[in-house]
C-alpha cells in the first residue's frame, strides 16, 4: 500500500481515484491515483520513465484533450469543482493552471509579444496595462535586465536559459494559481538550471507549483513535498526531506538509492 502524507494546510488540487488510459493502450497508464497537492508549496513528482508522472501533470490542465481517444475517470478537484467534467471551460482552466515545458517554447514573435500573448488572448488591449504587466512578468521571471533593451526583437534570439525564463514570464503574466513544470531544465546547462530553480522557489509565495523531474537532486533542492510514482501508481508522498532521508516504502528507498530506475 502506498504511504500518502496527510496535508493539513490548504490544498490547491485534490486528485481522487484518477485513472488514465492513453489511446491504443489496453491497460491504464495511471491507476486509481489519489493525491493531495498543497497550496503555495512545491510538489515534485519523481519516478522512472513511463511511471506516469508527466501523464498526471498534463491531466491538471487537460492537455490530453488535444489528442483524440484518451480515456480518463475519477476526479481532480480545483476550486471546489471537478475539472474533469465535460462542461469544464478548458480555456479558462488553462489560464488558471499554467504550464512550462521540457524545452523552451518561444513563439515566433517578439519578446514583448510572447509575454503579452496570454494577456491579449484574455482580451487585454490597453497599451499601458499591457506594458506594465509585461514588464512586471519579465521582472518576476528575472529576465527584465537582459530583455528590456530588445523587447521588439525576435524571442528566438535569446539563449536557451533566457527563453525558458521568458516562457515562465509568459506563464505568470496571466496570473495563474497553479503552475505545472514538465522537466523544465532538461534542455538547459547547469548554470541556467540553477537560475530556473531559484526562480521556481521564489514563485511559490504566489502560485502552487507541481514539477516533474528526472533529477532527484533537483526535487530535493526545490520541493516541499515529493511524490514517488511507479507503474502508474503513487507509491509515496511525503515532505521532501522525509522522503529522501527516511522513506517509508521499500520501493521508494530502492529508487532513491539507485537500485533501479
Amino acid at each position: 500500500m502506498a504511504t500518502i502524507v496527510d496535508i493539513t494546510e490548504e490544498q490547491a488540487l485534490k486528485v481522487k481515484n484518477f485513472e488514465f488510459t492513453y489511446a491504443g493502450s489496453d491497460e491504464p497508464n495511471i491507476k486509481k491515483l489519489t493525491m493531495p497537492i498543497a497550496k503555495h508549496s512545491i510538489t515534485a513528482l519523481i519516478g522512472p520513465s513511463g511511471c506516469g508522472k508527466t501523464t498526471l501533470l498534463r491531466s491538471f490542465n487537460r492537455m490530453h484533450d488535444l489528442y483524440p481517444a484518451n480515456r480518463y475517470s475519477g476526479e481532480i478537484i480545483f476550486k471546489d469543482r471537478n475539472i474533469l467534467t465535460k462542461n469544464e471551460d478548458l480555456i479558462k482552466l488553462r489560464t488558471q493552471i499554467g504550464m512550462i515545458f521540457q524545452k523552451p517554447t518561444a513563439f515566433p514573435m517578439s519578446i514583448f509579444d510572447n509575454v503579452a500573448y496570454g494577456l491579449r488572448l484574455q482580451g487585454v488591449k490597453n497599451k499601458t496595462e499591457l506594458q506594465d504587466r509585461v514588464e512586471k512578468a519579465l521582472q518576476d521571471a528575472a529576465i527584465w535586465q537582459e530583455a528590456k533593451d530588445r523587447l521588439k526583437h525576435d524571442a528566438n534570439g535569446l539563449s536557451g536559459g533566457q527563453q525558458q525564463r521568458l516562457c515562465i514570464a509568459r506563464a505568470i503574466a496571466v496570473e495563474p494559481e497553479v503552475l505545472l513544470f514538465d522537466e523544465p531544465t532538461s534542455a538547459l546547462d547547469p548554470i541556467s538550471t540553477a537560475g530556473i530553480e531559484e526562480l521556481i522557489v521564489g514563485l511559490k509565495e504566489r502560485v502552487s507549483i507541481i514539477i516533474v523531474t528526472h533529477n532527484m537532486q533537483q526535487a530535493a533542492r526545490v520541493s516541499d513535498y515529493t511524490g514517488f510514482m511507479y507503474l502508474g501508481e503513487l507509491v509515496e508522498l511525503s515532505p521532501t526531506e522525509e522522503l529522501f532521508v527516511t522513506p517509508k516504502e521499500r520501493l521508494t528507498e530502492e529508487y532513491i538509492t539507485g537500485k533501479f530506475g
Partner: protein
C-alpha cells in the same frame, strides 16, 4: 587504390554537376541567338507593342505578357485561400481517419498531367463559363480557373507539410495559455510555417506562368488586351504552342524565340525568389 577511385568518382560527379549548369547556359544562348533578329528589329518596343500581326511582320509581345500575368494572377487569387483552407483542415482539424485518405488524394491530384486538365476544362468548364458569364466560354477567366485547379493540389500539399513542421510542444504552449484552435493556427502555426507557405506559393506561381497544355485548350490564342475576362486571350506559352508550327518567316520564328526567352527569364526569376525564401526557412534570430 581506393583514394584513386574516390578521386575518379568525385571528378565524375563534379563533371556531371557542371554539365547541368552548361546545359542551362546552352539553352539560354540558343534562345538568345535565335531571338537576335527580333531583338534587332523591334528592340525594347517588343515588350510594349500590342499588335501581333504575322502577315504584316509586326510582333508585339504585350498581349501575351498581359495574358500570362492576368491568368496567373486569377489562378493565384482563386487557389491561395482554398489551398490554405485545405492545409489547415488537413493539418489541424481533420480526424486521423480522414486525414490520410484526403491527403493522399490531394497528392494524387497533383500528379494529373496538365493536358488532362486542359481537355477537362474545354469540355466541362467552357460551357459552364459560357452559360454563367456569357461570351464563347473560351476566355481568360476559364484559363484562370483551370490553372487554379491545376496548381491547387500542389499548393495545398506543400502548405500542409509546412504547417506540420510546427512542433507539438509549441502548439501546446499556446493552448496552455488559454488559446483556442483558431488562435493557435493564426498566431503560431501560420507564422511558424510562413516561409514554407510563401515558398510553395511562389513555386506554384512559377508553374502557372509557364503552364502550356492546360490553358492552350481554353484560352483562345487571341492577341488582344481586354479588361473583359470573358473574352478570349493568349499567354506566352499558349502563343508558342499554337504558332511555332506555322512560323513561316524568319522574323516570325525569331519573335517566338524571343517570347520563349522572356518566359525563361520570368520563370528563372520566380524560382530564384522561391529558393531565396526556402533558404531563409531557418529564421535568422535577430
Amino acid at each position: 587504390m581506393s583514394s584513386i577511385i574516390d578521386k575518379i568518382f568525385a571528378n565524375a560527379t563534379k563533371f556531371i554537376a557542371i554539365g547541368v549548369l552548361l546545359l542551362v547556359a546552352w539553352i539560354f544562348s540558343v534562345l538568345f541567338e535565335h531571338s537576335l533578329k527580333s531583338i534587332e528589329a523591334f528592340g525594347f518596343s517588343f515588350l510594349t507593342e500590342t499588335k501581333w500581326a504575322p502577315n504584316l511582320e509586326k510582333f508585339g509581345a504585350l498581349p501575351a505578357i498581359y495574358g500570362s500575368v492576368v491568368s496567373t494572377f486569377l489562378a493565384m487569387i482563386l487557389a491561395v485561400p482554398i489551398a490554405i483552407g485545405i492545409a489547415i483542415f488537413l493539418s489541424e482539424i481533420a480526424h486521423a481517419k480522414i486525414k490520410t485518405p484526403v491527403g493522399v488524394s490531394i497528392e494524387l491530384l497533383a500528379a494529373i498531367p496538365s493536358v488532362v486538365y486542359g481537355m477537362w476544362g474545354l469540355f466541362y468548364f467552357v460551357p459552364i463559363i459560357r452559360d454563367m458569364f456569357g461570351g464563347i466560354g473560351i476566355s481568360m477567366l476559364t484559363a484562370g480557373i483551370v490553372l487554379s485547379i491545376m496548381i491547387l493540389p500542389f499548393m495545398a500539399a506543400v502548405t500542409r507539410d509546412a504547417m506540420n513542421t510546427t512542433p507539438d510542444i509549441l502548439k501546446e504552449s499556446a493552448y496552455a495559455l488559454g488559446g483556442t484552435k483558431w488562435d493557435v493556427i493564426k498566431d503560431i502555426i501560420i507564422p511558424y510555417a510562413k516561409a514554407g507557405i510563401i515558398g510553395s506559393f511562389i513555386l506554384a506561381l512559377g508553374r502557372a506562368i509557364g503552364e502550356t497544355m492546360a490553358v492552350t485548350f481554353v484560352m483562345g490564342n487571341v492577341h488582344k488586351i481586354s479588361t473583359d475576362l470573358t473574352q478570349p486571350a493568349t499567354s506566352i506559352p499558349v502563343t508558342l504552342a499554337n504558332e511555332f508550327a506555322e512560323a513561316d518567316s524568319e522574323l516570325y520564328f525569331s519573335s517566338l524565340f524571343e517570347l520563349s526567352l522572356l518566359l525563361l527569364v520570368i520563370s528563372f526569376t520566380i524560382i530564384s525568389i522561391a529558393k531565396f525564401y526556402f533558404l531563409r526557412r531557418k529564421r535568422t534570430g535577430q
